[in-house]
Symmetry: C2
Subunit: 410 residues, 2 copies
């Protein structure tokens, strides 16, 4: 494995200097190749599907795993879209001339070798491989065991295009040892690997965070709140609350707990109750909430749970300070929203809540690379440093200082 990663590191120097023109040409050929080998990919996926059924994977997991012609076309289209993104390498981020005439330029460069650990969805293989290639990085992919045949097929199609273009195939690699030991080894190879991106369940994130010596950009849970202030527009408040919980409950930017100012609880809880019940939401609430609407009791554990399901906690709070404290205690720093027309309260909330994305009068569901207008995303980072929130292609770059002198010494 060490030898393999040493080679990855070496290759990363070659890939890092490819021109945007070459990279985009190769990406479009990759999209073509996925379409040309669609039947092959679907037939490999069928093996994963039948093994998955034998292993009693849930219907939800099987749906995420499944590929057909349409889904392969979706993967190809995503690569074509990545090819159209603005070149992320070589951007001048800052520049100045010092008093003694040094011309300093802060320029974006690829990160180097990126290890990505993920589960289920085979499209992550092509999406992340394309994003890493476009940003001049070498990727080492570790997909889930359940998608092994699909991931191998997709990676091989992409690698074949690299070879045809006389580029090193290992620029897009699957981790050679995909066992638990393989992952344990990968995340400690800080000499050769520059970044690990774990996408998956809490146990995986925790394991990687605690054991990696390579820097990690986590894609951890989203335990998101919406606070309905005393000065909220009730119609907006109800629409946003319903949207944030119900439109797609299984995603990280869905709301888990609704906080309501005590002065409006009597007016807004009954219509909220009706709307949520109509949407099939299971409601739990604090003691004060339960004075207004008949729902189950919410416990400390409930406030601490990312349901990923159509279940919601409701809590009545005294004021914005109590809302901020509750979010500080239970929030995961992902996405938090306030509904209020009072912009001194809004700004207090946006300033004091510590999260990647803080919203005024909009649904938390917008935390997403596409919705942000960043294009394809690696995921939603819950790191506080390097990348925070939707992780777009620019977050797959770092920088160096290029300094042009004329013989300066100190």
């Amino acid at each position: 494995m060490t030898q393999f990663l040493e080679e990855s590191k070496k290759i990363s120097r070659e890939i890092s200097t490819l021109s945007g023109e070459v990279k985009n040409k190769v990406l479009n050929e990759m999209a073509d190749a996925l379409m040309d080998h669609c039947d092959f990919i679907v037939s490999c996926n069928a093996k994963d599907m039948s093994e998955g059924k034998l292993n009693n994977l849930s219907d939800a997991l099987l749906d995420r795993l499944y590929l057909d012609g349409d889904r392969v076309k979706g993967m190809a289209d995503a690569i074509r879209e990545i090819a159209t993104l603005k070149e992320p390498v070589g951007r001048t981020l800052d520049g100045w001339v010092t008093e003694n005439g040094l011309n300093i330029q802060k320029v974006s460069i690829p990160i180097g070798v990126i290890g990505i650990i993920y589960e289920s969805r085979p499209n992550v293989t092509s999406d992340t491989a394309a994003l890493c290639f476009k940003s001049g990085n070498v990727c080492v992919l570790k997909g889930g065991k359940e998608a092994e045949h699909s991931n191998n097929a997709i990676a091989n199609v992409l690698r074949h295009v690299l070879a045809k273009n006389k580029l090193p195939e290992q620029a897009i690699a699957l981790l050679p040892d995909s066992s638990r030991e393989g992952v344990a080894n990968l995340i400690k190879q800080d000499k050769y690997v520059d970044l690990i991106v774990p996408r998956g369940g809490a146990a995986l994130i925790k394991y990687v965070s605690e054991n990696a010596t390579v820097p990690v950009v986590k894609h951890d849970k989203g335990l998101c709140h919406i606070y309905i202030d005393k000065d909220a527009n009730h119609k907006k408040a109800i629409q946003i609350a319903i949207n944030a919980k119900v439109q797609r409950p299984g995603v990280c930017n869905a709301m888990e707990t609704l906080l309501v100012h005590k002065e409006v609880a009597a007016y807004i809880l009954p219509p909220l109750y009706e709307a949520f019940i109509a949407a099939g939401t299971e409601l739990k609430g604090c003691e004060v909430t339960r004075e207004y609407i008949e729902i189950d009791c919410a416990t400390h554990e409930d406030y601490d749970t990312e349901y990923l399901a159509n279940i919601l906690n409701i809590k009545v709070v005294k004021n914005v300070e109590e809302a901020i404290l509750h979010i500080g205690k239970y929030g995961s720093g992902h996405s938090e929203a306030i509904i209020s027309e009072n912009y001194s309260i809004v700004n207090k909330f946006l300033n004091e809540v510590d999260a990647a994305c803080v919203y005024a009068n909009a649904s938390t569901r917008f935390t997403d690379g596409g919705a942000f207008g960043l294009g394809a995303e690696v995921g939603i980072s819950t790191n506080k440093l390097h990348s925070r929130g939707p992780m777009g292609i620019n977050d797959l770059t770092t920088f160096k200082y290029k300094i042009y002198g004329q013989g300066q010494i100190r």
Copy 2:
């Protein structure tokens, strides 16, 4: 300790929202207070000095530890300079309106709670405390045992100013348990600590990198090279090489190995030899180098050593590619320079060498916050992510997205 850090986290919310005006007023009062308590600080330092002598600290270490009126004034002046820096919090880093009318602003914010682990120099206590305060962060400082009395005295003077301004004293804290176990505990408290900055010897950096679950910005070694190309201006080349090695050999941006293109070796090695011998430099060289000048043999271990002393390896290389490969093998990603008037070679070097700072025709000694014009620095980061190279005050901030809507849902 957990309770202490939980309190630090809580305080960080209050400190993060202080206005620039308040912070600068407090910083100037801190500078005044250091001057007012100069005698007290110097007398506490005297205890460290006499204990240091009893413990047989080296003269170099004792010099770094020593404080007198002038050095305390230097600390006060540094704080006044930090007060004049542009406000690092609340900068709009990016901003746009999405198609559906969401106004997205990427805004700089404090990181939160920062643990800084360092050695010897007591001025690091006041510098880093002031930089963290100015950037709205709470700091937890862990200085060296040898400077304990000095660090306590300085921190207490600064904390007293916080209290006088009705701010929580714990915003500037010394780690309550300064034992090895205390450090081990600190670097795993990712729930309360947002960043660890270790500044010190290789063993400390390695220990922290391998054991921390909190993100780390390392200040690791500088193993820097200068490559004299075939098309170098010889006068510039000799001046820069001498400056990079001799002017201050004990620092991380000094040169350790000089690479020379084979076609100019015969002309440039003899005058380089004379200049270095005149400057008292101990020289080691590869076999080819030793055909031109009479010096000791350089081994693999020599190329891999950060001397921090007036010792230099010289190696003759075939071309810029071999220079880049040598740097890729032995460099620490800190500062690397090429001397050449051929800008297609220069650009190849600047693009392909992976280091925080890559120089054309200037000394590596300029890698420094002050020389870069960034003002006071936390140190020189050898991280590749978040902060790279001179770590100025803006690197003590991260960001959040503030999103203003008018009721948008998905």
